[in-house]
Structures are given as C-alpha cells and as structure tokens.
C-alpha cells in the first residue's frame, strides 16, 4: 500500500504506542483521584502538557487538552465570543478555514455576532492589508489558519498577529496542519490562541489542544468538573494525551530532518505530475507551502473516480471534489481561490508522511497517468 493521505490520519509512532499502552491496563487512574493511582495519571498528564507546550514555545499552563482539533476550534471561537461579547460582537475569519471554524462562525452569526470573511488570492493566501481593513472597534477576535489542509498554503500569521496585537484584538490560528510538521512558536507568531492536533505529528486520535495565552479570558465549551483548570471539563483521555506528549517531544527533535525528507518527495511530485499529465494545475502557493502537501487539479476528470482507481492500485489519496464531500459541494477553499468549479472537480490532494519513500512517488507517477487517460476518454468535456 502507498499511503499519501497523512492529513486525514496517520499511524502513531512506535514510541507513542508503547508509551500509551500502560495507561489502559496498568496506570488507569483518573487524574482527579487523590490516591496513588490518580497521582500517577496526573503526573503523566502534566508531563505531556509540558511536552506539548515545549513544541510550540508555550508555558505548560497555557495548554488545554481537548478531544480533537474541531473541539479546540469550537472552544476558541465560541469561548472567546461568549467571554468578550460585552466588548463587541464582530469576528474576522478567512474564507479558506476548515469547516470547524467556518461552521462555528455561521453558528455565531445565528447568535447575533457579525462575521467578516477575508478574501484570498489565487494561491489561497490572505493579505494582511485585508485584515487591517476588516478590523473595527467592535472586533473581538480574528481567526486565520496557519496552513490550509487542502492546498497547503502557509499564511502570514506573524504579520496578521502583529496587526491584531496593535489593535488589541485577540488572534487565533488553527495550526492543525502545521504544529509538529514545521516549526511553530506562539511568540514568533504573535498568537493568543492556537489549535493543534496530535495526529499531525503521529500522536493518537482523541488528543488535541488549545493554546491559550496566559491572561486571556475564555468561557468553557464543556462545563463541568475542574479538569484543565476548569476550562475543559471531562475526564482526561490520559492514554491519548500521554501519546500526544511523546509524539510532541519526538516531533520537536525531528522536525528539520522530517522536513528535508518530505520536501524532496513533494517537489518531485510537483515537478513530474504536470509533465506526465497535461492540463494539471498546481494548487496553492509554490513556495509558501506545507512540506508534505501536493494539491493539483486535473482538468476534465473528476476527483472521486481518480481516487477510487488509485485505491484499486493500492494508493490512498484524497480529493476536495464535490462528489467526495458528502455535501456535494465543491471545496470552498478552491472556490475562494477563484478556481472554477469544473476545474476544482479534478482536485487531488497528496499529503506525505515520514513513512513515504521515493518508491511511493514512483508508484504514483506510474499509476496516475493511465487512470487519468482512461477517465478523460470517458469525459464529454475532454477533446484531444
């Protein structure tokens, strides 16, 4: 099998796996219990918190564990909106955010908040000048993702953060696609809140976190007990969080070597695909781009069909085509970039991971052209 869908899910590292196991059957305590078994669990939790904090240059008490990136994004947007609505009810997001930000913003609109959606250029990039224009006296929060999961474009977060800070507006970034993949430092990025997820760096599903700068007020999304300093109630998923901590520590050490490995594979795909398949367009920014992302639109064919033919060939990839997105809508990211709906239909997203090799790239380059050829021959839009 050739797996090139790391943004969707990744296996955990062997070290992560080993670290988690004892927390299911041996150290199963509840971190809130004040006996020895609870104590053990709490120590493990706090160790993981320090490891995750270290990965992004934060203090441990600035990390709030959540169950997934979506929860952290919902917590950030709704929690800040609820806590700061007396200061204003205007929020700014980009038009290429993940659904978990986009649909939160829609919910906030139903609750009486006003949302401005920033445009992007044809690379999917936000212009900081547009952020500046969008800020109003009643703006309480700006949320722009660090890198886009579909097209890989990395946003000018530090600059947007600087603008927000000058204007005293809280700034959140959804860094699910970047933390653990490229260096991320909350100080350098000038962010007040940041979402990260363990699976991006080969930690387990079920563990993610919100970074919340010290002193920033927020309302819990999950009310209840006093876990996570009362900001996120619910028994902590100790095994998953332990795994996240170990994965963070490893990611920190290996970031640079991983990037080198991924970039080489990525660049080969980016170079070779259009050579072997005419009318293939690279989506996203040519340089300001995730080291593991190759996003293309292949004209005259539809993503799901390619994806399934590739699946038959043992190659797992993804697509932002409407036919794939259960809602039958073309990717809002591609539309925001000005890509026509017909072109966006031919979207293929390859996300590389540490286990990929040159040979995987060779297999893709060998398997995809005949699939495209076959589908184009069926396509009423294609004329040689």
């Amino acid at each position: 099998m050739v797996y090139l869908d790391y943004i969707a899910a990744a296996p955990v590292l062997p070290e992560v796996y080993e670290a988690m196991l004892p927390y299911f059957t041996e150290h199963w305590g509840n971190p809130s219990s004040i006996h020895e078994l609870g104590e053990k669990a709490r120590e493990a939790l706090e160790k993981a918190r320090a490891q995750v904090a270290d990965l992004i240059g934060a203090a441990p008490e600035e990390i709030i564990f959540t169950s997934c990136g979506t929860e952290a994004n919902n917590f950030a947007l709704k929690g800040i909106a609820w806590a700061h609505q007396n200061r204003g009810k205007h929020i700014v997001i980009s038009s290429v955010e993940h659904f978990s930000i986009m649909h939160c913003a829609k919910t906030l609109e139903r609750w009486g908040f006003e949302v401005t959606r920033l445009p992007v250029d044809s690379y999917g990039m936000v212009n900081p000048a547009d952020v500046e224009k969008a800020l109003r006296p009643d703006t309480i929060l700006v949320s722009v993702m660090h890198a886009n999961n579909e097209v890989g474009t990395i946003q000018p977060i530090a600059e947007i953060g600087r603008l927000c800070r000058e204007r005293n507006v809280l700034f959140h970034t959804d860094a699910v696609a970047t933390v653990g993949l490229i260096p991320v430092n909350v100080e350098e990025l000038n962010v007040d809140l940041l979402t990260l997820s363990a699976n991006t760096f080969y930690g387990p599903k079920g563990a993610a976190a919100l970074y919340l700068r010290k002193g920033v007020r927020i309302q819990p999304l999950l009310d209840g007990g006093i876990q996570e300093r009362g900001l996120r109630a619910g028994t902590e998923n100790v095994p998953a969080i332990v795994g996240m901590g170990v994965a963070a520590a490893i990611a920190k050490k290996e970031t640079n070597s991983r990037i080198r490995h991924l970039q080489a594979l990525r660049d080969r795909l980016i170079e070779e695909l259009p050579k072997r398949i005419p009318d293939t367009i690279l989506l996203g920014h040519p340089h300001q781009r995730l080291p593991n992302n190759v996003s293309v639109a292949i004209e005259y064919v539809e993503g799901e069909s390619m994806l399934l033919f590739m699946d038959m060939a043992g190659i797992r990839i993804s697509s932002g085509s409407a036919c794939v997105s259960r809602s039958l809508k073309v990717s809002h990211v591609m539309l925001a970039m000005g890509i026509s709906a017909a072109t966006a239909q031919g979207s293929l997203v390859f996300t590389l991971g540490i286990h990929n090799t040159e040979k995987d790239v060779d297999r893709v380059l060998a398997a995809l052209p005949p699939v495209v050829q076959r589908l184009r021959e069926m396509s009423p839009l294609y004329h040689k």
């Binding site: 069909s305 033919f309 017909a342 239909q345 021959e377 396509s379 009423p380 839009l381």
Partner: protein
C-alpha cells in the same frame, strides 16, 4: 461505500463512447456540480439498437451510466422511457444516500436522448409532410 455491482460497472463500464451519427443525443448536468452526462442512441424500428455514453462524474455516475446503457439496449423506446432512477439504483444493488442523485443523471440523460430522437423524428415527419403538402400545392 459502494456495492460490488457499482464497483464492477465503475471499473468496467459498458458502452462508453460517442455515436457520431446518433439518432438522439441527451446531455444533462453541469460541470460545476461535478456531473455531466451525455447519452447517444441509435434507434431502429423504435428500438434502441445502439447506445453509448460519456460522463464527467464520480464512480456512481459512471456506474449508473453504464447500467442505464445496459438496461436500455434493445428496449422499445416506450419501455426505455419508463426506466426510473429507482430501477437503476436497484439494478446496481443500491447507492449510498448522498449518491442517489447520480442515478437521476443516468436515466435523465437517456430519456433526453430518446426525446431528442422523437423530436428529430417529428421534425422530419413535419418536414416531410411540409414537403409533401408543398408538392401537392
């Protein structure tokens, strides 16, 4: 996600292609929505003698088109016009809920091709009548 039947038709679609001298052509859909389907029919004595299709769409769309073409082949046009979306989905041993709309495409495109044939025929007959009457005049 897909039934074995859908996958089989997707991987080995029947009757793909274009009939250059088709008696009827039907096109439905819109590339913006991810689906364009074109059916071509040749009709002999009101039976579908030959049918071909092209599609730009998902696996379901391809399988649906293939299945519809199989179902239509050899049928009297009045029978072919009665092929419903449901028949197609059933023949394919079911489609995922969100893909049911693809089955509309197949039957719709076929019906449109037949209607095109009927319209051309009518036009031709009208044209013939016209010629005759003009002759008679």
């Amino acid at each position: 996600m897909y039934s074995a039947k859908v996958m089989e038709h997707f991987l080995h679609p029947r009757n793909v292609g274009v009939i250059e001298d088709a008696d009827g052509v039907g096109e439905v859909g819109n590339p913006a929505c991810g689906d364009v389907m074109t059916f071509y029919v040749k009709v002999k004595e009101d039976r579908i003698a030959e049918v071909k299709f092209q599609t730009f769409g998902c696996a379901a769309a391809i399988a649906v088109a293939s299945m519809v073409s199989e179902m239509a082949k050899g049928k009297h046009i009045s029978e072919a016009l009665k092929i419903t979306n449901r028949d197609v989905a059933e023949a394919l041993e079911g489609l995922p809920k969100q893909k049911l709309h693809c089955s509309n495409l197949g039957a719709d495109a076929l019906h449109k091709a037949i209607e095109d044939y009927l319209a051309r025929k009518k036009e031709k007959e009208a044209g013939d009548d016209g010629n005759q009457s003009s002759c008679a005049r």
